[in-house]
């Protein structure tokens, strides 16, 4: 088929389960010391110390930033254990025994409306730093960095698109907490002086449309609006979402802020609301355990720090098909596999997709051009792949692989089942050398 791929068709067994269950609180909660971005940390607690929700247990040190390690549970600190981060890295985790009291730390203080009204951009930025807010769309990049620029911001785009097929965590969050999200947008708009706040979601979610139209009733003057975007993949990509919401096309290599737009994930905004209003960290996320590799796919509300094994056990474990399983964190298009299920739910974990192995046999490329047609960044993946195979560094560089967002559409659309995306990833590394 020589055609652009815009919708991801999934086999029916992979379609997700939408009913929510509350996962029981775990006996032990694990908080990441190091993680995908931060390689070292310092601790302020000793083994046996009692900690409360919102307590700062130490500092994570990233390449250019520091962020506090904030407890999401009250209990006793037991020490450091090695577990897997969802990116596949082995990381140090702080083990905390849950006392099921959920006591709030004295550090968490609720702000009144007047206090919030007097917050400046720098105050919001400091709150983001103090509460270790990161991009919850999956990047886990510190959120305050986006606020640091000196650009005039006129629009804030809230990305609730979640364009990967079968994912529904952001959808659930928007259904359950529309008012909190709207308040969070208003706080941020006030802080940066933006006139418009656009909450974006796919037009197919009719339930979200009615939820937000009732939640936004009486907010006409605030500038916050609900914005329906297309149902294409990768609509949730920052650039595509901003283009659909505002019509502004952000060129590759530029920041949205240069065009007067800030883009945040809805879950980030929700955690910002909690941080500003109540001074608490984000405690819970909606996590899907799904795919044809688990017995009963389920959708959980999970305390951050829960081991994923507990959740899989609640789903009845893995199916006994005799095949190897792919443990995929994220969606089927961009999610990464890990080699063990000893993974802790960090704030950016929203889905574990367990798939039976299904090897694809690659045929020689017939140059059908589907990857070129599908690429959202207008690259030519087939030419990049052939340049990588030929080891031609100059050719690789001239094809600009650094613009690739690794959406995976080129490999999805490939008629010869070649993993073109992997070639482009390799090209990115070659171009960097």
């Amino acid at each position: 088929m020589i055609a652009k791929a815009r919708h991801i068709e999934l086999p029916a067994v992979l379609l997700s389960h939408q009913e929510l269950e509350e996962a029981p609180l775990p006996l032990f909660v694990f908080l990441a010391g190091t993680n995908g971005r931060c390689a070292s940390y310092t601790l302020d607690v000793k083994e046996g110390d009692h900690v409360k929700i919102g307590d700062k247990l130490g500092m994570r040190k990233g390449p250019f930033f520091e962020q506090p390690i904030i407890s999401t549970v009250s209990g006793t600190y037991l020490g450091i254990e090695k577990h897997l981060h969802h990116t596949g890295k082995t990381c140090d985790f702080l083990k905390i025994q849950n006392d099921f009291q959920d006591e709030l730390s004295s550090l968490c203080h609720e702000r009144s409306e007047e206090e919030i009204a007097s917050l400046t951009k720098d105050d919001v930025l400091n709150i983001m730093k103090d509460m270790a807010l990161v991009g919850l769309g999956g990047s886990s990049f510190p959120s305050y960095v986006k606020l640091q620029g000196e650009h005039d911001i006129h629009t804030i785009v809230i990305n609730g698109v979640e364009c990967e097929p079968s994912l529904a965590s952001d959808h659930r969050l928007m259904l359950e907490h529309p008012h909190e999200i709207i308040e969070g947008v208003k706080y941020l708009m006030k802080a940066v002086g933006a006139k418009e706040g656009k909450i974006c979601a796919k037009w197919i979610y009719k339930d979200l449309e009615s939820t937000f139209s009732s939640a936004l009733a009486g907010e006409e003057g605030s500038g916050v609006s609900y914005c329906q975007v297309y149902n294409f993949y990768p609509q949730g990509w920052e650039v595509a979402c901003i283009k659909s919401a505002t019509g502004i096309e952000v060129e590759s290599g530029h920041l949205p802020a240069e065009y007067g737009v800030l883009e945040y994930n809805v879950a980030t905004i929700y955690s910002l609301y909690l941080a500003i209003r109540y001074g608490t960290p984000l405690l819970e996320r909606y996590v899907q355990i799904h795919g044809d590799g688990v017995v009963n796919p389920k959708f959980f509300k999970v305390r951050i720090g829960t081991p994923i094994q507990d959740l899989v056990a609640l789903c009845g474990g893995y199916t006994d098909s005799g095949k190897k399983k792919r443990l995929i964190f994220g969606g089927p298009m961009m999610g990464n596999t890990v080699n063990s299920d000893d993974v802790i739910c960090s704030p950016t974990v929203t889905s574990l997709l367990v798939l039976d192995e299904a090897p694809y046999k690659a045929d020689p490329c017939v140059r059908c051009g589907s990857c070129v047609y599908s690429c959202p960044t207008h690259l030519m993946p087939v030419l990049i792949a052939s340049a990588v195979k030929a080891g031609d560094k100059a050719k690789v560089k001239s094809l600009h692989p650094e613009r690739c967002v690794e959406c995976g559409l080129c490999a999805y659309a490939c008629t010869s089942h070649i993993n073109v995306t992997e070639f482009v990833r390799r090209a990115k590394r070659i171009a960097k050398l």
Partner: protein
């Protein structure tokens, strides 16, 4: 928590799903689209069709099979292996695509030949086509030239004396449209005898295939059925087909206006001339099955438009001004030759640029200039 059975994990890079589609399915679609033409040629040419396809298909399949056997040689590991082991190792690399791709080539190649081609002509053309146009480049996906077009041209050029574009069975008894002893198609009629020799050929007959010519190329209505199927299945790129046909028709229209206004030809009917050029020869067949071969066409949208545009211009120029009556084969090969240039990373891009638009404008302008000059001062058209 209850104990779970441990998981055997597998790591692989994303994405983890694929479109339900494959190159083999694309090849099967082309074969299905060729099926009506195949049945047509078996009904009309009977044993002659059996001879052509009975030679071309096994030749190409066998050549590809030998190639796979050579390419799938066991890597040297310091051990002695029996012939049986080596054979089994090599045969593992034989995939469905290795059977379907030469089958498609052989079918298209056979359709491009007149039924009367001698058996050794079919054999040599098929062998040269697949070996020198495809296998020496590295097999499926690596060839620069369309194997069917190369094979067809080799046969048509080398064995033309043994070829008669025999009249079809259903015109038996009626007087043949063109003197058969000259052994030409209707197009060679216009090439040698001028417009007057084709002025009374019915366009409907051409459309339905009641004429002489290569086996698969004569019945335009069945080609259109195949084209429709391929477009619905998205097995070919409509950009190439429509740009090629559009360029061809537009340039022929300009040429016919120029001929009519020049007064060089008596009793010239411009509409009939355009219709005749459109419906005769291998233009539609080439546009549907040969030019659209993805391996030999560029990969970007602008590249594909330019590729088809250039092929269309070349076809018109060759048909009107060269000594060869049929220009489709040559123009397809020349356009194939430009594919690496159109895909050159330095200027290839998946979006239109001003430079590309200027280039296209320049090509169109130059070709129209050549057409007008050739018609007014060339003296070829009569």
């Amino acid at each position: 928590m209850s104990e779970m059975n441990p998981v055997r994990s597998l790591q692989e890079p994303s994405p983890h799903v694929r479109r339900r589609d494959s190159a083999s399915i694309m090849m099967l679609d082309v074969i299905l689209a060729l099926l009506p033409l195949l049945i047509f040629s078996f009904i009309i040419y009977r044993l002659d069709a059996l001879k052509v396809f009975g030679i071309s298909i096994p030749t190409m399949l066998l050549a590809e099979w030998v190639f796979v056997m050579i390419k799938g040689k066991m890597p040297y590991d310091g051990m002695k292996h029996s012939f049986q082991e080596k054979f089994l190792y090599a045969i593992k690399s034989y995939t469905p695509l290795n059977a379907l791709a030469p089958l498609v080539s052989a079918l298209i190649y056979g359709m491009c030949l007149p039924a009367s081609t001698s058996w050794y002509g079919v054999f040599i053309g098929a062998l040269c086509g697949i070996v020198f146009a495809k296998l020496v480049f590295g097999g499926t996906g690596h060839n620069i030239f369309n194997p069917a077009a190369v094979g067809m041209l080799i046969t048509r050029l080398s064995f033309s004396s043994s070829m008669t574009y025999s009249p079809i069975y259903w015109t038996e008894g009626t007087s043949p449209i063109i003197d058969i002893t000259t052994g030409g198609t209707v197009l060679s009629g216009i090439s040698s005898g001028g417009y007057s020799s084709i002025a009374d050929i019915s366009l409907l007959d051409l459309f339905l295939g009641k004429t002489q010519g290569a086996m698969g190329e004569v019945c335009k209505v069945l080609i259109l059925v195949g084209l429709l199927y391929l477009l619905l299945r998205q097995a070919i790129d409509w950009r190439i087909t429509f740009t090629y046909i559009g360029t061809f028709t537009a340039l022929m229209a300009i040429a016919s206006i120029a001929i009519a206004s020049s007064g060089l030809v008596d009793n010239f009917n411009a509409w009939h001339f355009i219709g005749f050029e459109f419906l005769s020869g291998g233009m539609l067949f080439g546009a549907t099955f040969m030019l659209t071969d993805p391996v030999t066409s560029p990969v970007t949208k602008p590249g594909r438009y330019m590729y088809a545009l250039i092929a269309g211009c070349l076809t018109v120029i060759i048909r009107l001004f060269s000594s060869s009556p049929e220009g489709v084969g040559y123009s397809i090969l020349l356009a194939n030759l430009l594919t690496p240039a159109l895909d050159y990373p330095k200027w290839a891009s998946s979006r239109w640029t001003w430079k590309k638009a200027l280039l296209v404008g320049g090509i169109i302008f130059a070709v129209i200039l050549v057409l007008l000059l050739g018609i007014y001062y060339g003296g070829k058209i009569s």
